[in-house]
Symmetry: none
Subunit: 421 residues, 2 copies
Amino acid sequence: MTVLRAGILTIGNEVLYGQILDGNAAFLGRELQAQGCEVAWRRTVGDRIPDITDAVKSGLDACDVLLATGGLGPTSDDVTRQAAARLFKSKLVLDRALLEGIRRRFAARGLRMPPCNRSQAMVPDKAVALPNPQGTAPGLLFRQGSKSVILLPGVPRELEAIWEQTLRPMLAQKSGRRTAVKTLRTFGLPESALADRLRLVEKALPAGCLAYLPSCRGVDLRLTFSDRSAEAARTRAGKFAGRISRALGDSIYGQGQETMEQVVGRILTDCCLTISTAESCTGGLMADRLTDVPGSSGYFRGGVVAYSNQLKIKVLGVRPETLRRHGAVSRQTAGEMAAGGRRLSGSDLCLAATGIAGPGGAVPGKPAGLVFLAVSGPFGSIVREKRFIGGRRTIKEWAAQAGLNLARLYLAGKGRLKDRT
Amino acid sequence: MTVLRAGILTIGNEVLYGQILDGNAAFLGRELQAQGCEVAWRRTVGDRIPDITDAVKSGLDACDVLLATGGLGPTSDDVTRQAAARLFKSKLVLDRALLEGIRRRFAARGLRMPPCNRSQAMVPDKAVALPNPQGTAPGLLFRQGSKSVILLPGVPRELEAIWEQTLRPMLAQKSGRRTAVKTLRTFGLPESALADRLRLVEKALPAGCLAYLPSCRGVDLRLTFSDRSAEAARTRAGKFAGRISRALGDSIYGQGQETMEQVVGRILTDCCLTISTAESCTGGLMADRLTDVPGSSGYFRGGVVAYSNQLKIKVLGVRPETLRRHGAVSRQTAGEMAAGGRRLSGSDLCLAATGIAGPGGAVPGKPAGLVFLAVSGPFGSIVREKRFIGGRRTIKEWAAQAGLNLARLYLAGKGRLKDRT
């Protein structure tokens, strides 16, 4: 069985001119891939009838199934229905059952249907209406030989409901293949260093199965495998994920959508340990991220954002002598901040960060981006020196992620982590 | 002069298959519109050389300028450079200055350049390299007659930096029309309430000139006007911005890309006042946002994230009696946190937040989303009760934005703000 070729057409000026992000196309891309389809074609056009008809024609040439989203609403700028009627030489006919359904949706909210919603019950006579359990505009399915064009509303929850109820089962039947996606999240090695370590694994991998996705949270490695059954695809993805894990060791911090703060939270919960933070350059971002996890109040005691030297001394107990001799941005200050934060909060661990977020504040020998991270806890203390580049927010993001990663490695190593940079 | 026709080509399996949202195409769409260009063509293709060359050819037919993003990284799945070299019958030549720049970027982080980054210094001999102030891969500009194809890296901050430094000035020169975009940022009123207040202004506005853009930082109002000259467009936008400002008063906190933390920082700087934070439910997010502003160390002293009651008592001096009688999530605790944070840090103002970020933690009478915000400072103390809905992160975001807004109104009102909810 050959792979089903699918196309995605997004219709709407608000997408074309970037007023909104195209979450619908992303949703359809993921779902089509999971059904073993190839996304062979993807375009975006504005709300103009000739642009829409041209794009639908070209999509039909290139694909077996074309999914178009947007422009089915009740207002004057919604022209997809008319464009399709023109292209398929179809008349718009009132569907009384549909009209009744739309009226009932308004009545359920205690409202009268505004006249303009009547247009949503106009169905091209060559189309099949696909029920929309979440809204007034139905999907519209046109067939041309063995190919199909499906028009979907642009409201995400309506599109997703029609997908779940009608399209996913329909495509699962048509497509002979299933796809498994597995993501491994890494931190600490740049993309190119990962690629060097994965040279051998990559040789054994079919082309196009491995993607590197860098961001300031690290590099995600995404494995994608298609096979006759979902299980066969998952097995192959699992096999290569295992090989990559062995090659990269503890540079991998999580899988799928798992965040660093979730991973740290899970280890703390498993070990029955608590944590606190003592932050300077990260400005509260490490605490913010730790508290993004539901239930984090079970292990997060609190934190101090000691931006001024006065607070470093008064609240965290950093010695004035240390600040004078080594400066606020130093290995020694980071260590004393972590120790002081631990004493103050009574937590098992304290994670500290001090550095220069930039763009100002650099001094000779201490450039913007220089950050010291420290962990103090039951397995001793460690300090790490890091250098990041980028704007202020980027440096904060890198430093916070590196700090959380240091806490992860400290907990995983249980004291085996040596105090070296 | 005719309108310049622009095309946007996104390259990358991760976009095609919906693993990430296409923020780059949205950014370019908005920016091209602001330069008075028509976005006449927009497509997405995967990381395959024939798909890329086909798309570039078709884009060149349809547009005057084609902007392509993605696939310029150092790893094996990045093939845009090779595709373009093939299409433009160009040889890849090592650019030694570029290679040196890439080496220096790694050296600045104390790292050796991995061998595979060398590929990013390979420039097609028919292309001009556009400097990338934020990363290793330069942009690449090819000319064909009067038309241009520009390849840009997929990392948003790199693409945006090349746009600002090179492309925006270049397109401003080419395009015959100018568009002025003016954004007014509001907080505190829902979209429908804003629309009610702006009914009269909207009647006077040409259709399509005003967009409402809601998010958990408030509702941005975007005015877009096109005209023959930038000045004419700006004058019209300015006139309506003035009318909207008068209608909405202090619900407008800023303009353009200005953030709430920048506005608060500017007022503090102007008044020579300092601030600190005392946070529970926001978990450090208010401190994080205040410290995102370069130079914030001039007015931000520091903050405490007092997640546990013990820290609220020990560090912020909240009375155990207050916690026992009113609970940690109460008007009284918020007030004592603000007063205590001010004493501790010696700042002029302290901004406090205590609430239930959810999804757990709700008790009868105190649902998830209930948040008390307080400001203590030279003009007295105020406390506000708020109720937000959404997931944990959304509630944190709303609470932090509302907290910063309260500090803004407190400073602007200089004590005229009454202590009512």
